[in-house]
């Protein structure tokens, strides 16, 4: 169901110290999420990374669908013993998520990449995430 008018990019995975970093640039769709889950989980295993930072500073919109996708990725990463931290959430997005009633349970957040790295270093273990 690719739309020729909309550029389709794969999401790049970068290595930062002992962590992996991905930057979400645009709307996530099912196909992109599945591809990302796949390659990210592979990379966690092959690199032995202890943490994953998901940078969402480019996102003006996080709706329930995107929120659910991000929480799912965080849950998968934690099964592979990698802490996942959502970094760079815009204030308007935080306000909107609360009004939506979207909880992002079990997902850690940090203001920026540096703070996210710090959080992972301190190696706080995530609380187990419930399905949903």
């Amino acid at each position: 169901m690719a739309d020729p008018d909309l550029p389709r990019r794969e999401i790049q995975i970068y290595r930062v110290h002992d962590c992996l970093l991905i930057a979400i640039q645009d709307d996530l769709d099912d196909g992109m999420v599945i591809a990302l889950q796949d390659s990210l989980m592979q990379r966690i295993v092959s690199s032995g990374a202890h943490g994953v930072l998901i940078d969402i500073s480019a996102l003006e919109i996080v709706d329930t669908f995107t929120g659910r996708m991000l929480a799912g990725i965080a849950r998968m990463a934690s099964l592979l013993d990698a802490d996942c931290v959502l970094v760079g959430m815009r204030p308007a997005v935080a306000i909107t998520l609360v009004e939506l009633g979207m909880r992002l349970e079990g997902v850690k957040t940090a203001l920026n990449v540096d703070r996210g790295l710090e959080l992972i270093r301190r190696s706080l273990r995530p609380v187990p995430v419930n399905a949903g």
Partner: protein
């Protein structure tokens, strides 16, 4: 810029939801909407567009920007000829879903906009209109 603008987008698949978001973002930027106004409205629209595609079997989104005495008014009407919502009150409640979602979209969209009107029946399908004032100085 022209003061008023309107556009209808056909909603059939996931990428059409993206189109609605982009069209709204463009208009709201032109209307000098504040970041929070923009994110709230576009998020509400994104939820309703997804409902139109997933639950309504597809439909249309009609976007309208009109100038008001101060600032602008952004409105979007979502229409489908799908099965309708049997119990609207229940559907608006957090956590109510007949699908695999979280059941947050409809009630959340209502909270995110100033105006939320929903008309739904098994015969005529579902029509939701949302609207907010933006870019007030």
């Amino acid at each position: 810029m022209q003061d008023d603008a309107s556009e209808t987008i056909v909603l059939r698949a996931q990428h059409d939801i993206t189109r609605v978001r982009r069209a709204l973002t463009l208009l709201l930027t032109r209307a000098s909407a504040k970041p929070t106004e923009m994110t709230k409205f576009v998020t509400a629209a994104s939820e309703l567009a997804r409902n139109t595609v997933l639950h309504g079997g597809g439909g249309t989104a009609t976007i309208e920007l009109t100038r008001e005495r101060k600032g602008f008014r952004i409105s979007t009407i979502f229409e489908d000829a799908g099965p309708g919502i049997a119990d609207v009150e229940a559907a608006l409640r957090s956590g109510f879903t007949t699908g695999s979602g979280l059941g947050l979209g409809l009630g959340g969209a209502k909270r995110l906009c100033e105006v939320f009107e929903l008309v739904s029946s098994a015969e005529a399908g579902t029509r939701v209109r949302i609207s907010s004032r933006v870019g007030l100085r």
